[in-house]
Amino acid sequence: MQPGDEITPLAVTPDRYLTVRYAGASGDFNPIHIDEEFARQVGLPGRILHGLYTMAQVARAQTDAGGGPESLKRLSVQFRGMGLPERELVVTGTVTAVADGVATVECGCEQGAKRIIRNAEAELRLPDG
C-alpha cells in the first residue's frame, strides 16, 4: 500500500429484512430500525439502517484490503444522513499515509448521492510491519 492508492470499493445492498437480522445479531432493537410505523411516527422516511451496520461495511472494506481481521487497528467514523434498506451502499477509501507499518486510509460510505459516513479514518497494520 502506498499513499494515493485506492482500496477496492465494497458495494452491498442490504435487503428488506436486514435491519431485523442486524438487530438480533447486535442486540440493538431500537424500533426506528425495525418498525416501519414507529419510524414514520418519529418523522423518519421509514426504517433506517443501524449506523453501526454501515460502519461494519466500512470496516469490512478495510479488512478485505488489509488481508484479514487482525489488520484493522483503528476506525473512526462520523454518521451523517440516514441509510435506508434496499438501496446500494458503496464504501470507498484512499491511502493517505504509510508509516511504521501502519497505513492510514481516509474512507466513507455513500448511498446514492448521500454520503452517510464521512470523515472516516482507518489505520491498517501492514504485513511485515
Binding site: L18, L52, M55, P69, S76
Partner: protein, 147 residues
C-alpha cells in the same frame, strides 16, 4: 434542552460477555462477512486460532449491554426520540475468538451543549481473560434540540 455535566466521569459496573461461536457466525452473516475465519471453526483453527474469529465490529455486541445501561441512565437523562448516533471510534488489540470472556467498562467521557443540542461521549474499554485490551471505543451521541 438541559444537559447534566455532573455525570462526566461517571463509571458503570463492568459487564462480562461470553463470546460464542454461533453468535460470531450470526453477527458475521448479518454484516455480510465472507471470510471463513469468522464462519468456519476448522478454517480458523488451520489459521492458528482457537476457534472462529470475531470480526472487529463484533465489539458492538460485547460492548452494547453496558452502553445501553448508560443510555438509559436517568442521571444522564437522554431524550430517546431525539437521540442520533453522531460518531464512533474503535481501536482494536488482540483478536477475539469464540470461547473468550470479555469484560467491558464504560464511563461518561464528555457532556456538553451547543445550540440547544446535547453532545454525549461515552468511553468503553473491553479486556479479555488475559487482561489484554481487545477494544476501546468512543461513542458520540447527539440529542437534537426540540423543534
Amino acid at each position: 434542552m438541559a444537559v447534566n455535566p455532573g455525570v462526566i466521569g461517571k463509571t458503570y459496573p463492568r459487564a462480562q460477555y461470553a463470546v460464542g461461536r454461533e453468535k460470531i457466525r450470526e453477527y458475521a452473516l448479518a454484516v455480510g462477512e465472507t471470510n471463513p475465519l469468522h464462519l468456519d471453526a476448522s478454517a480458523a483453527r488451520e489459521a492458528g486460532h482457537a476457534d472462529v474469529v470475531a470480526p472487529p465490529m463484533f465489539a458492538v455486541v460485547y460492548s452494547l449491554p453496558v452502553i445501553l445501561t448508560v443510555l438509559f441512565d436517568p442521571e444522564v437523562g437522554i431524550d430517546f426520540p431525539r437521540l442520533v448516533h453522531g460518531g464512533q471510534e474503535f481501536e482494536w488489540g488482540p483478536l477475539v475468538v469464540a470461547g473468550d470472556e470479555i469484560t467491558t467498562t464504560v464511563s461518561v467521557a464528555d457532556v456538553s451543549e451547543r445550540a440547544g443540542n446535547g453532545f454525549y461521549v461515552f468511553a468503553s474499554e473491553s479486556v479479555n481473560g488475559q487482561g489484554e485490551t481487545v477494544c476501546s471505543g468512543r461513542w458520540s451521541n447527539i440529542v437534537r434540540a426540540a423543534a
